[in-house]
Chain length 291, copies 2
């Protein structure tokens, strides 16, 4: 089974060390310590598609301790970055090259850097905050509030109608997507609802279908900027669609042959599938495999 | 199967209406509109344990549109609330009385109110922000950033060793808990990791056990202040424990009879189980039922 994109990092986060300033200082002073090489928020890769690492900078840029890798402490620089959370063309190319485990290490660093760049002030009292816990939180000197990086859960799901050879799943597209790109429907989990409830709410709102049983398939982090993608399948009894025109431009029920064709990028496939590092791709694969 | 606590609200969030200020004004002007009755962040219940609702206030307190219930628009007041996110004794008593569907409606309101109370300033630029989208976001007049309520995913999991009648699951306790209370282990999902990876990381950090397959069981919102609890079971091959003394005071492997005894509060049960509205309770029930 192909692992979900952005999973499988070889990094040991060693998060128990984050609260120990002496340990943090020792990690920073370690001659083996390395800094993740970035261009803004985009990765600078080695020729083999792995992440680039450099010696630590001499200037006192605040650094976040990503964890230990191959016996060496690994850091990311927390500084001014462009506010773009969208994927650049260079990044798209890099993601196609990077082994998933490297992309996973990159994802953690990118989300963390981006969060610091956009959360320099205390939301509770407006004071300037400072990085604490080896770069994994920020603390307010005025009101004492501590702020932690956001991880926003998103459900991404296939409605499934029928069983066995008659089974079909629902894919939809947004007007802004590339021509003929379709994917699983998705939406943020809100406060006060479960994953199962968010799946049912989004399927009904976007496509007018009523979810029965909801089953979990897989999850992945999505670092644009910091979602947790939770992939599910929901059985539906009635396949009639009522699309929310603000969200979904069109939607299709697709059978196993159609999904297999889309994943294989076959001529005559009913749609263009999302890239392998997107969990919608994993969700299609797992559905074909019986999930 | 008992539903997970804080799920099953009868409220229709009607979230497609949130972006329409004219619709919001009409909902506020509806004579049937009602305000959730609270004492600080605690619910004021009717005699039958259901939530109390009052006519809308005459003063211009900012209100959040919770959704539609029994044909009437429902609101929560966004105002100064005590910063306590802990459960009061009064709340504990209320939670024991409330039907789960009522507790679910309350959970959404509580998390939303609490988030507004602690996020009045722009984390990006420090300006005073204002509620938008019918109370489901805040907008910064200076830098234009939009801020959405936090939903922080937490994994809560049972390590499972052995199969069939020999199966046992791992429960642990924190030093601050009531005497003999044990529960599933838990921890926040971090940026750049999947649910499955967070389960494995937390089990290894807290108990020194290595997770094999991870299976999802159920989820719930937890409104103290706004977690998404994701309950899983992870198989482990080696039952030897290495406890993180900072997190776990003691841990036990418990068989099916022990878990059943704890849920039934039997004399001689190996531990005191968490209350029914906690998903650890649901996780124990589902494990006994074969999950």
């Amino acid at each position: 089974m192909t692992p979900a994109g952005f999973t499988g990092s070889r990094l040991d986060r060693a998060d128990a060390w984050r609260g120990d300033p002496e340990r943090f200082a020792a990690l920073l002073a370690d001659p083996a310590a390395r800094l993740l090489r970035l261009d803004g928020l985009d990765p600078l890769l080695e020729a083999d598609g792995t992440l680039g690492w450099a010696p630590l900078p001499a200037d006192p840029t605040p650094l976040a301790f990503l964890g230990m890798l191959d016996g060496a402490p690994r850091f990311a620089a927390l500084g001014a970055v462009p506010p773009a959370t969208r994927r650049t063309r260079g990044l798209e190319a890099a993601l196609a090259l990077m082994p998933p485990a490297e992309a996973a290490t990159y994802a953690a660093a990118r989300s963390l850097i981006d969060w610091h760049a956009r959360h320099g002030f205390c939301a509770n009292c407006s004071a300037v905050t400072a990085a604490i816990r080896a770069g994994w939180a920020r603390s307010c000197p005025d009101c004492g509030a501590e702020h932690y990086p956001r991880t926003d859960p998103v459900v991404i799901m296939l409605a499934e109608h029928g069983t066995g050879d008659d089974a079909r799943v629902l894919v939809g597209r947004q007007a802004s997507w590339p021509p003929n790109r379709y994917s699983a429907l998705a939406g943020f989990v809100e406060v006060g609802e479960s994953i199962e409830e968010a799946v049912a709410r989004e399927l009904f709102e976007e496509a007018g279908v009523r979810a029965g049983d909801v089953r979990f398939v897989a999850s992945q982090p999505w670092p644009f900027p910091s979602q947790l993608m939770i992939a599910c399948i929901a059985t539906v009894d009635d396949a009639r669609l009522t699309l929310d025109a603000n969200e979904i431009e069109s939607a299709l029920w697709v059978d196993r042959a159609g999904i297999a064709g889309a994943l294989a990028e076959s001529e005559g496939a009913p749609f263009l599938a999302p890239p392998p590092y997107a969990i919608a791709h994993t969700l299609f694969e797992r559905w074909l495999a019986g999930a």
